[in-house]
Every structure is written in structure tokens, then in C-alpha cells.
Amino acid sequence: MALLEVNHLDVHFALRKGDVHALRDINFTLERGERLGIVGESGAGKSVAAFSLLNLIAKPGFIAGGEVNFEGKTLNTMSERRLRKVRGNRISMIFQDPMMTLNPVLSIGEQMIECLKAHRRITTKAARAIALDKLQQVQLPSPDTRLAQYPHELSGGMRQRVIIAIALLLDPDIIIADEPTTALDVTIQAEIMALLLNLCEQHNVGLILITHDLGVVSQVTQRMLVMYAGRVIEQGPTREIINDPQHPYTQGLINALPQMATPGEPLNQIRGSMPSLSNLPSGCAFHPRCNFIRRADGQTRPACVEQVPGFVTSGNCQVACHMVAELLEDRRLQEESL
């Protein structure tokens, strides 16, 4: 049994004009010590997915179906009280913007010690020692003076180190990092990412990394999910997806990387933009932006417009695309006829 299993997770937002489906049928697993990347454009549902794992989605969002199983226990039906014992303890989170994540009126020490005290019967002195140790692990200079300081006295990079230290305080099994480096300077980004990777490897902590940076995903994670408009459209081993993306959207994302462009030419891009979740296109949500909607004979593939694609297996990957399904079918028929 995997450490974390997400089965058919559906998340809805109850709005006045009706429910909006923010996540549909998300499935994945995470083994102990494994690192998983979730990528996609803004609005794809990456952050909602991250927050829904610990049932932390803000109202009007709610988990409408499916389950999140952690060590065999279903988190999304658990009482708030028992779930609190998991949050920050067995599964902790790192947020996107370190400038906003720490409470401005509480000292770093208070914010670390309260977390330890929420989960363990521990004296303030012992909690302080653990906090100091973790601050050392994240290589924050002069950690003992930091405990008395307030967030505004620290730079963004230093704050993100503090937040990583808080995430590690109780030696969790999983860290969910929601774009942990997006709000930082480019030079600091690499440092923080290396630190996070290093600590996860050292302590055998599983990592769910939400990002839109394919470079980071390829360096850090072993497996990845690509999300589009609230659905997973491709998942599998990171290396396979990066080297040989199957879904037209994943191909577009990788093509859009600056290093993929011909020097002197404009950067590649996927035309159009992510549809609004309340007004999704019929069939495959990606079809209005897809370059492969026409078959070789120039005819639009009707299934793309009419039918939501199911997953097909290609290599070690799962892909939700009619075009890929057709190609695979053709190949199978060819092989059979040989």
C-alpha cells in the first residue's frame, strides 16, 4: 500500500450560479520518500489539489467526491480534530509567498514552538532546542538570534528557509510544497530548491512539488502529473514525460521553454489561454488550443469535441488524449497485421 493514495478526488466550488468543478477525478499515489511533481498553467487546479489533500480548501470550495488515503486512513472524512494531528505533523506544507506566510506579529520562535506544542507534549525549552536544530539544518545564519526576531526582520529567502524549517519540525512523512520558489529571486530559487531536495533526501521525506517550472520538476521529482483545467492529462515517470511527452499540451509546455526556441526567433507558445472552469469547452477541454485536432486527412477528429478522453497507457505513462489513443490503436493494428 502506498503512503498516500488519492482516488477519484473531485473538488467543487459552490458559487451562486452553481457548482464549479475545480478538480475532476484526480488519481495518484506517493510512496515513502518519493518525489512527485504537479505541473500546469495558472488555473489548472494545482494549488487546489495541494490544499485539498489536507482538506484545507477555503470556502466555497469542498471535496465533493473521492478520497485521500494516508497510511490507510481516509483524510477527507476524518474529523477536524484528528485531521489536525496529521497537518504539520505527518504532512506539512510550504507556501508560495514567504512574505505572506509567516504571521507578522508573532516572533519566529513563537511560530515554531507553537507548532511543536500543538503536536507533542513538550516543554518550551525542549521545543526551542528542536527549533534551533531545524534552523541550523536549513542553514539560516545565527539561528538563536532569529528565534526572537519577527518576520519583517528577515529577507524573503531567509523567511522561506524558516518556513522549510517549520515544515520539517516534526519530521513529517510528506511535504507539500506549493510553488516554493516562485516568489523568490532567481539566484535564491536554486539555493532554496537544492536545500529542500537535499533535506527531503536526507530524511527520506516524500515531496509533492507544485510548480510551473518544468526545469525544477525534471531535476527534483521522480514522477509527475500534468494538469489542465482541473484534470490530470498526463502522468508517469518524470524523465519519460520530459523526454517524450505524449499529450499535445505537455508537448506545448516543453516547447514553450526558452531553451527550446531557435535563437533569434520568437519563443514558442501554446495559442489561446486556459478556459474558465465555469465554462469548459466540450469534449477534451484542450481541443480549442490543440494543434492535433485534425487528422492526417484534414478532418477534425469528432471525438475531441464530443467526448472527454479517458486514459491510455503509453510506455509507463498515462495519457488522456484521443489523438494518442488513435495512434496507439493504429500501431497495435499494424503490429497485428504484420
Binding site: 477555503a58 497537518r87 505533523n89 506539512s92 505572506m100 507578522p104 500543538a118 519577527y150
Partner: protein
């Protein structure tokens, strides 16, 4: 800290100077003090003599400098009506007003924080809707109307029997809308002497009953304002990333609401609140008049009616001083609560 206090002291002097100029300048337009002093029967020649004697014929600047010099020694002259130093008259009336403001402030603080927090935590609860609708009414109804309604309901009492008393439900409904009355609503009663000119209503239960209605009506304007302010701030704070992060850390909701969120909520509330306490002192004019509460507000209104110019000027100066002091105190408290403000001048 010392540097901060010196800076604030300088600000305070500047503010007091401006107030003194204004207070002094308006006194020429408040009617003829000699007329008030001597009445109808005194001939014009004697009046002119009296004017000369009081220095009312000197040039404006001379009069102001004389006034400012005396004011610096806390001497604002004699009240025409009481024929006593105005500072003594004020000192006699100040405790009543301060006690009324203190009681109203206590009501505001004790009620607005729990109600504001509750209605932010449970924005859709029926109790929240009730609080929000009542607070709109509270803001819109003027103090004197609230005061009169309170007097009618709880001091005089209402016996109104619009429902048929013969039936069970009719009698019950009649009882429901009938109030006993009997709450004191005139003056301070018999307050306990503390020292000097200070008599207090806080020392006995009977004294406190005299405070209830005036304090409620004085609080009735500010209380809804504070409930709405705290609710709005709290709602915003609850959306913040640090509250979400605290939840993700597994902190209990009680600690999140009352430590993480409330501390941030209170920062702007303290700033607004400080200014409003000064405003409360000014609002006492209405409340004290309706309840005949023998404080500075009532005294001020009487002074205006009788053109008791020295007393009016002294009142304006004292109220200005109260504003300046409360604002300085609020800045100090704000510095203690908000770590990003350093009053000590120590580099961060």
C-alpha cells in the same frame, strides 16, 4: 522611546497652540460678556469701565499674549457665571465626564471584540445577521434619540396593552412589551467622594445604576462602528496566507482565531479607537444634556447659553489636551503590539 516622547511633546505643543488661537479668536463672536455679567440695569458708562477693567478693549494680539501667558500657567481666568477660576469649575465637572467615557469605553471594548470576532468567524449565522442589522440601526439613530428611547423604556417604563388581555397569548404579549422602568436617568445620584473634586459612581452598586443608561446611549454610536470595523478587519485577516499556514501547521482554530488573527485585527482597530475615545468626550455633550449628567459636556452647553467665555475657552483647551494625550498613548500601545513599529529608535 525618549526621542519619540520628545517628538510627540513637540507635536502636542503645536496642536495646543493652534487650538488656543482658534479658541481665543472665536470668543469675540460669542456675545458680550459684560452684558451677561451685569444685567440690564447698569448704565453704559459703568459698562465701559468694566470693559476697560477686564481688558476687553486691548488689541487682539495683546489679549492673546496675555491669555497664552496665563494659559501656560494653567490659569484661564475666572468663569463669569460661577465667579471661580475656570480650572476649578472644569476640575469639578471633569470626573463625571471621564467616568461616563470610561464606562462607555468599557462597554464598547467588552462587547465589540467578542461580537466582531464572532460575526467574522460565523459570517452566515443568524446571530451575525442580527448583529449586523442592529448595528446599522445603531449607527443611524442619533444619540439623543437613543437616550430618550432608553429613558422611556427603562426609567419611565411602558405599559402598553394593544393585545386583548383576556386571552392567554394577549396577556403574554402585553407583558412582553411592557417594561417596568425605575432605572435612574437623571444626574449622578449620590456619588462617593474619593479625593479633591473627584466623586465616583464606580464605588457602589447604586452609583453604577446611575451610569448604566447614560453609558449605553454614549456607547450606542461607537459600538456598532467598532463591531463592523473588527468584523471587516478580521474577515480580511482570516483570508490571509499566514492564517492558512497556521491551519496547515495543525494549530487549533481557537488559537488561530484569538492569537494569530485577533492580534493582527487589533492593529488598525487600536489606531481608530484612540481617535474615537477623544470623540467620545465630545459626544458627551448630547448624552449629558439628555440625562442631566453633571459633567463637562453639560457644563459647556450651559456656558454657551450664558456666554461664559473663559469657561468655553478652557473647555476647548482641555478637550484638545485630552485628544492629544489619548493619541500619544494610543501610539505607544500600538508600538507595543506591532513589532514592525520600533519606538525605541533601536535599528531593526
Amino acid at each position: 522611546m525618549i526621542a519619540f516622547l520628545i517628538k510627540r511633546l513637540f507635536h502636542a505643543l503645536l496642536v495646543m497652540f493652534v487650538i488656543s488661537v482658534i479658541a481665543f479668536a472665536i470668543q469675540d463672536n460669542l456675545g458680550d460678556p459684560v452684558q451677561q455679567l451685569v444685567g440690564q440695569s447698569v448704565p453704559e458708562s459703568e459698562r465701559a469701565e468694566l470693559r476697560e477693567e477686564l481688558g476687553l478693549n486691548d488689541p487682539f494680539l495683546t489679549q492673546y499674549l496675555r491669555f497664552a501667558g496665563n494659559a501656560a500657567r494653567f490659569d484661564f481666568g475666572y468663569s463669569y457665571v460661577f465667579n471661580q477660576p475656570t480650572t476649578e469649575v472644569i476640575a469639578r465637572h471633569l470626573p463625571a465626564t471621564l467616568e461616563l467615557v470610561a464606562a462607555a469605553s468599557f462597554l464598547i471594548i467588552a462587547l465589540s471584540i467578542p461580537i466582531g470576532v464572532y460575526s467574522a468567524i460565523k459570517p452566515r449565522a443568524w446571530l451575525t445577521r442580527l448583529f449586523m442589522s442592529v448595528s446599522i440601526v445603531g449607527i443611524s439613530v442619533p444619540v439623543f434619540l437613543t437616550a430618550i428611547v432608553l429613558i422611556q423604556l427603562f426609567a419611565i417604563g411602558v405599559s402598553w396593552t394593544p393585545f386583548p388581555a383576556g386571552t392567554g397569548w394577549g396577556a403574554w404579549l402585553n407583558d412582553l412589551i411592557t417594561t417596568e422602568g425605575g432605572m435612574p436617568a437623571y444626574g449622578r445620584g449620590d456619588p462617593t467622594h474619593v479625593f479633591g473634586t473627584w466623586y465616583t459612581n464606580f464605588a457602589s452598586l447604586e452609583g453604577l445604576t446611575y451610569l448604566v443608561l447614560p453609558a449605553i446611549s454614549l456607547a450606542s454610536i461607537m459600538l456598532p462602528l467598532f463591531i463592523r470595523l473588527i468584523r471587516a478587519e478580521m474577515l480580511e485577516v482570516l483570508q490571509s496566507d499566514y492564517v492558512k499556514f497556521a491551519r496547515a501547521k495543525g494549530i487549533s482554530m481557537r488559537r488561530i482565531y484569538f492569537l494569530h488573527a485577533l492580534k493582527n485585527t487589533m492593529l488598525p482597530v487600536i489606531t481608530v479607537g484612540g481617535v474615537q475615545i477623544g470623540t467620545l468626550v465630545a459626544y458627551t455633550i448630547l448624552t449629558e444634556t439628555v440625562f442631566q449628567w453633571p459633567g463637562m459636556g453639560l457644563m459647556f452647553l450651559n456656558a454657551i447659553e450664558r456666554s461664559d467665555i473663559p469657561l468655553i475657552v478652557t473647555y476647548l483647551m482641555i478637550v484638545g489636551l485630552i485628544f492629544v494625550i489619548t493619541n500619544t498613548l494610543v501610539d505607544l500601545i500600538y508600538g507595543l503590539v506591532n513589532p514592525t513599529v520600533k519606538l525605541t529608535g533601536k535599528p531593526a
